[in-house]
Amino acid sequence: MNQESIIEARGLTKNYGRQTAVNNLSFHVEEGEIFGFLGPNGAGKTTTLLMLLGLSQPSKGDVRVCGLNPVRRSRDIKKLVGYLPENVGFYGDMDAVQSLKYVADLNGINGQGAMDKIHEVLDEVGLSENRTKKVEAYSRGMKQRLGVAEVLLKDPEVMFLDEPTLGLDPDGALRLIDLIQSLNSERKITVLLSSHNLYQVQKVSHRVGIMINGRMVAQGSIDELAREKFGLGDEKYTLEEIYMKYFQEV
């Protein structure tokens, strides 16, 4: 297996009864890149992320995350990988600091170090001013940023972000995308960004993978995909054009 890839999946398959959610999926993510994971709703993106974390057992196939097998070493992977689920929830009666304190406890970060870390990540996501406000009073964008803060608390090597900009207003989405980009460039965190917002993905991703009906129909940088689909040409294609082309073919 390729030593350099931080995430490597081969022939990954997940069946639910007779239904196949993920079908013979192979892809890899290199260290330090932002990998845009594209696909319509129900394409199997979340299922794939859960299998990468070891929260769901693959029916077939082989996966390595940070060189570890999620089927056996799920807990070790979860130390290295931060996962921000789609529609992440919070305990409404806690404030940001309490929420983060609980996550810190769960990660075994204790004492004064934990409090310093909490204030550091709150600064990083821009929630310092609202840290004593109850989470139920947060806007959706603030909640997503708090979710990112919870992920950052464990100093992850990799972040899995599942539809992080879903339902955010343009301003909130932009802030979040900028945050993801700066985390990637400054903290050198590898990001696996699942989304169906093509514009945002195109903006930040180094490489993308397009998943339709449980299959990975294409992966590579946007230029590579354009070349593959439209032949050699000088004109620039947007991700949307490429995506629609793949989508129509399926």
């Binding site: 929260l55 406890d105 769960l106």
Partner: protein, 319 residues
């Protein structure tokens, strides 16, 4: 371990600051006060100037002949404490989207359910212990009697039995909160099971006994039919944890309870002689008598927890 402790601490803090805990605690404290006050007043009036009977201190908890006592109250409504503490343990987390976040932290998945169960058991223990202590203090002031060593031991055994009994119901409600996605369904199902096992089983037991071994006329019925009828009734009603618990706690709290009595077999003369030579059971003998009951309650508790454990560990969690 660190995950278990974190979940445990958080759940415990949640329990103690929740309204439902305060309401439950107020309810059980109120009942405790009223019953023990009535028992105390009753005892003071009746015992004035007489030699003190044995185990008078325990009568605060279960006065023979009283309409209602704390022991009976816990048998009837104790399950409700367990149910209320657990009915939304897992499905609330699922509904608000925190369960997936919880298990994507570097903890074992069982830490979630173990932490929640242990926090519930701790809450129940603290609740019961403080009520028993308050009533004891009440008795000291009201009656001016000091509990003997054996009475203290009996109270401890009673507490242990009660904690297991209520923990069983906590386990049931946590199981339903794992199985059912909707909070309302799990709440209703656990309450339905509680009502069925606590009230309908004993009713069903007599119906069944009467149809299998009918006893037409008490006066001239033959002994064998009576024994059979009674036997069926008792064995069927043992399905109910409440019956098991009531028997066990009554024997522990009331040492003069004649455990081998089957009055139905005794004629009036035998009954008289039996009551004349009634002596309290020693603590060891009482524990010996309730041991099977205790084992059943512990086993029920563990079976319930084991099933929830199995279901939870194999379930796929997406939200």
């Amino acid at each position: 371990m660190q995950g278990l402790l974190a979940v445990y601490r958080k759940e415990l803090a949640d329990h103690f600051s929740s309204y439902r805990f305060i309401i439950l605690f107020a309810l059980i404290a109120m009942v405790g006060f009223i019953t023990s006050y009535m028992a105390g007043i009753n005892l003071r009036e009746n015992l004035g100037g007489m030699a003190r009977p044995k185990f008078v201190f325990l009568m605060l908890f279960n006065l023979p002949g009283a309409l209602f006592s704390l022991v009976q109250f816990v048998a009837f409504f104790g399950p409700l404490i367990g149910l209320v503490l657990g009915f939304d343990a897992i499905n609330r987390e699922r509904a608000q989207g925190t369960l997936i976040k919880l298990i994507s932290q570097p903890i074992y998945r069982d830490a979630v359910i173990n932490g929640k169960f242990l926090a519930g058991v701790t809450t129940i223990s603290i609740m019961l212990l403080s009520i028993v202590l308050v009533i004891s203090g009440f008795g000291l002031i009201l009656l001016g009697i000091v509990p003997g060593m054996e009475e203290i031991w009996r109270l401890i055994v009673y507490l242990i039995i009660s904690i297991f009994y209520i923990s069983f119901w906590l386990g049931v409600s946590i199981l339903f909160s794992i199985v059912f996605r909707s909070i309302a369904t799990s709440a209703l199902t656990s309450v339905a099971l509680w009502i069925f096992l606590s009230f309908f089983v004993s009713m069903g037991a007599s119906v069944l006994a009467n149809s299998v071994a009918p006893v037409e006329d008490q006066g001239k019925a033959n002994h064998e039919a009576l024994i059979r009828n009674n036997h069926i009734k008792e064995s069927v009603s043992l399905i109910s944890p409440m019956v098991i618990y009531s028997k066990a706690s009554a024997i522990i709290i009331d040492p003069t309870q004649n455990t081998t009595k089957s009055l139905i077999l005794m004629g009036p003369m035998e009954r008289l002689s039996a009551s004349r030579f009634q002596n309290p059971l020693s603590l060891g003998q009482s524990v010996f008598v309730v041991f099977p009951h205790l084992i059943v309650l512990v086993a029920l508790c563990f079976i319930c927890f084991a099933v929830s454990y199995l279901v939870f560990m194999t379930q796929e969690i997406r939200t």
